[in-house]
Amino acid sequence: MYFTDWQGKPKEAIIKLAMEQLLAFVRKEVYHILRDRKTLLVLFGLPIAQILLFGFALSNEVKNTKIFMCDLAKDNFSFQLTEKVHASKYFNVVGSIDIPNEADEVLRKGSAHLVMVIPADFSTKLSHSNSASIQLITDGTNPNLASTIQLYLRNIINDFRNQVFEKIELPYTIEVKSRMLYNPQLKGAYTFVPGVMAMVLMIICTLMTSVSIVKEKELGNMEMLLVSPMNPLIVIFSKAIPYLALSLFIVTVILGLSVTLLEVPIRGNIFLLYGVCLIFIIASLALGLVISSITNSQQVAMMISLMGMMLPTIMFGGFMFPIENMPIPLQVISNIVPAKWFYYAISGIMIKGMGIKSVLKEISILLVYGTVFIIISYRNFKIRLE
């Protein structure tokens, strides 16, 4: 065999030869990925660290909040109420003070986030006039936390009241019973798990793919590859395939961690979930190819991927800052960020258990993005150096 002569060969033979090239190239890519231990560590460490951080450290949830009691009544009712507060998993009664004026010191020291004052006439008023007051003194330096724990405590106190007056029908009272659907405990994990997925997939697919192709250009390997009978599209395909597999694997890791550690449910169809991930991965890969076709240095490719793609993903993805609260122009801009649609579809499927019909709009938009990026990268692909 002198050299490969594809002309005049049957189609099957040509496909077989192309497949061999593709296979060799994919194998080479897999070596690159597996041997770059540091990058691999970052790729797996990043989603795991993010899940753990968001899940346990950076949470707005009220859990084991320290409170002090100032029980001036010291009777049956007040003991019952204290018991009930302490029994809930949101609060820990860590101490008590004798006079309400000491509350200031306790909050200042940070020994507690909230002081609950039960007045001396609590039981009497409760039994005779059906209405008693309780004072909640909160540390207002973190207003969000303060109002959240007040809300939680109010619910517990309301519960207590309903227990006490179980049989008494109060005339003309309007009770607001609100219910948070899909996420009754207001768990933060429900918002950020789909968000972390969008971010990590963006990094792997767009950043890693564009950098790895540009690296071939920068080191001169692309020149040698171009001067070979290999169809340049095979180069592109074989770059994308290993990252596609890696992305799906990492999606599985994230989902596994979320379900087991953070107790986030997957209410919808798991195949639909993976299907949407696959579409988003392909769109992000194609975006990476577009970036690689317009740059010649790894640094530039990284900057475009990070600043141009990651930042909008975080800002307009919908999982960090609610898009509904943004000014109208920003809301309009957010529509062009693919991650937003991915986030909507994923949280819809995972948390609300939506079917394919409900996320059809998001899927179609992602498909359009993928197709457009693939066409652009195909059009931009250069068979020569300029």
Binding site: Q21, G220, V227, P229, R384, E386
Partner: protein, 306 residues
Amino acid sequence: MIEVNHISKSFGKAGEVSALSNISLNIDEGQLYGLIGPDGAGKTTLFRILTTLLLPDEGFAVIDGMNVVDDYKKLRKILGYMPGRFSLYQDLSVRENLEFYASIFNTTIEVNYALIKDIYVQLEPFNNRRAGALSGGMKQKLALCCALIHKPKVLFLDEPTTGVDVVSRKEFWEMLKRLKNEGITIFVSTPYMDEASLCDKIALIQNGSILSENKPSALTASFNYSLFGVKCNQMNDCRKTLTHWKEILDAYSFGEYLHVKTTKGTIGENDIQEFLLAKGLTDIFIKDVIPTVEDCFIDLMKTKKT
């Protein structure tokens, strides 16, 4: 085998940077052809045009009957190319690199083993070593193996010996000679003038123009001046005084000597000795010098300027 016809190429938005202007060359089948010139002379640009990577602005080139612009697909099957900045895959082993390049050309190491055997035996002890951990000379040998693995008809080597030690350079040229004997046409570029004499034919390139295209021996034979090598205690003063002497056409440093160019039959070694002594220089040593390719290059470069 390779025919370059009036090729011009410029870069920049308005084409203001001219890289090549009106280049014409002719390389016969089975020749070891050298393109000699300093950095920035346009060697790489010409190589890229011939290897179908760049399009010429003007002119055309034909390799083995195929046009480098229109028949690029066919040409890419018969060309072997080793880019100047080529660096292999550092994280793949010697064997993996070679296997990879074999498979993208749809061949295997075994099929063309005979061709690369001489070079590859030196690499085989390091088969499992990563390419990044090889010495400079070894890397070049591996790169050459990769460029040869599909038995190309024409081999393009862009500065293959730049940054390689003297011994490895010598070995590399010996390998090129053996490949030439296999019938492969080799087009090699180098900034080292001393490698020129190892080629069958050379072209001197400077600022995107060909100064001369000839056999190395014919080129040096065409050097029509007397040439002396001069050494003394004060080399710098010596050069200055000599260049101001009307009998001297040119004086330039050449290794540890000054090369002094005069019109044939005007002055001899003794005249120069006396002249320098009169100027107060000591430890004078003068010898006759056979002109090298570098002397010719300097001569051609200066004549072109004036």
